[in-house]
Amino acid sequence: MALLEVKGLTMEFGGLRAVDNVDFVVHEGEILSIIGPNGAGKTTVFNILTGIYHPTAGEVVFRGQRLNDLKPHQITALGIARTFQNIRLFREMTVWENVVVGAHTRLKSGFFSSIFKGPATRREERAARERAYRHLEFVGLKGLETVKARQLPYGAQRRLEIARALAAEPKLLLLDEPAAGMNAGETEELMNLIRKLKEQNITVLLIEHDMRMVMDISERIVVLDHGRKIAEGTPEEVRRHEAVIAAYLGASARAGG
């Protein structure tokens, strides 16, 4: 079943067409990767899906609802969460607070209950903190809950971004180059983590440059180049696709295979 449908998606910045008439579907429960050379429009697609940009043309439909004109916070409430390519944590907040901010849309306390904390608010706060600690344990950050986010080593910051996104209880999780800057061992752990997300019934849409990881973990792959979709299919199909080889290695590489 289609969880997310992208139809004729186009994004223009002045004269530049960053995304050009792209269609794809994300099925419920799958791991779908978007790959492509630098500047292919991958992150722009993520920014449209999360409401940071509004598309020039085309349509994004998530669980039957059109997302085009919604604001980022509304889209999060519907069940899409993401991580960022260049880590964007709340650096001066503690690790657990970062995760609880991720759960913002799942908590209720409003303005007056924030000031005059009644028993219900206190209970909600305690439960939120406990859930945050569990998410941190899940991504392997147990014991670092009360440290400030900026003090974490790089790999841990990436995992904290995932924990923060999970706290939003998403149906669809967008990961933007989660393995960037990781060594082989860290990438391996990350892949295990993503597989566990799948077991939790979270659909994953992944942007990644690490081809070993992409080929290993994805069920389907969408390939973008210069804003256009040039291929789509299983890792095997994409690996052999002529246009993909040309985009990555240059047209002349085709002859050599």
Binding site: T76, V101, F138
Partner: protein
């Protein structure tokens, strides 16, 4: 009760220090509320004195023209300033950084010049005849009330969202925070307390003049907040106290410096920025390293290494036993 406490305080505080303490209290309320917007929400706001002015004139006019009672006028002053906060906040808080600073600066000047040119406010001659009904116990109560409300607010779902906006607005939006709405809320709450401070000011000095609420007042308030520590409520209390009392002290000890107090403020801020960039009570990174070292030691107990344990909501609550801070 308040009168009795006032009599007690007056019996051992001489009138000069009594007045200084009232002024310190009013400035603490102003600095605390400005800290909510600038320190916690990260929005550079250069027109806080305007909210104080709106509160002061609301209370002053109600007292002199309508004969409203003290408490009702103070509350009305807060609400009036809050309404102004919403009206100004909605368009300006969509701006970022320098643009917001310029817009709030402009707002401050508009308010001052409006007060200068209205007939009902007495224009440049000022507003006279306000009864003196502010006293030290009332100011102390107002400071405690402001401090407790703001402390509760910043340690809540909403407060975390405000800090998240300061830290990274795009990420905050993506985490489901309605950033515009929360920025306006923060601005409105700050305006409310500034309005109350303005009312206390009116009922203390009994005379209002637009020049008491100029741009330099906003800058002095900002200096108090930065001096004490952005995002640190206790810091604002210390900052407002020190920067209100110091000129008074210097007036007797070194009048030459007191006359040039703005130069002195500037120098003080430069020194603070160099020695303690996060303000007098702000955290320093050394403390942070100690925290991470302790946390690592704690986590070195067996079976806590990595994600091996499983489900998103596993049965064990792990280290969650600390309870809310």
């Amino acid at each position: 009760m308040l009168d009795w406490a006032d009599g007690l305080l007056r019996s051992f505080i001489n009138p000069y220090y009594y007045g200084v303490l009232v002024t310190i209290g009013i400035n603490i309320i102003l600095a605390l509320s400005l800290n909510l917007v600038t320190g916690f929400t990260g929005q550079l706001h250069l027109g806080h004195a305007a909210f104080m002015a709106i509160g002061a004139y609301t209370a002053g006019l109600l007292a002199t023209k309508a004969g409203t009672g003290f408490w009702a006028a103070v509350l009305a002053a807060g609400l009036m300033a809050a309404v102004a906060g919403v009206i100004v906040g909605l368009p300006t808080l969509r701006l970022r950084g320098d643009y917001l600073a310029i817009a709030t600066l402009g707002f401050g000047e508009i308010v001052r010049i409006t007060l200068l040119n209205l007939d009902i406010t007495g224009g440049p001659f000022g507003l006279r005849g306000i009864p003196r009904q502010t006293n030290l116990p009332i100011v102390i109560l107002a400071v405690i009330f402001t401090f407790l409300v703001l402390r509760s607010l910043v340690n809540s779902r909403m407060g975390r969202a405000l800090i998240a906006i300061r830290e990274d607005e795009v990420a905050a939006q993506t985490m489901g925070i309605d950033t515009t709405r929360l920025k306006v809320t923060s601005f409105t709450v700050a305006a409310f307390f500034a309005g109350i401070a303005g009312a206390l000011f009116a009922y203390w000095f009994r005379y209002l003049n637009p020049s008491s609420f100029g741009f330099m007042v906003s800058i002095e308030l900002l200096a108090m907040v930065v001096f004490g520590g952005l995002g640190n409520l206790l810091g604002s209390v210390v900052g407002a106290s020190v920067m209100t009392y110091l000129p008074e002290l210097l007036r007797t000890v070194a009048p030459a410096i007191a006359e040039r107090r703005l130069v002195f403020y500037g120098a003080l801020l430069v020194i603070i920025m160099i020695l303690r960039p996060n303000g007098l009570l702000g955290t320093s990174s050394e403390q942070g390293w100690l925290e991470i070292w302790l946390a690592r030691r704690r986590s070195r107990s067996p079976a806590t290494t990595s994600a091996a344990s499983g489900q998103v909501p596993p049965a064990s609550t792990g280290g969650a036993g600390h309870g809310p801070a």
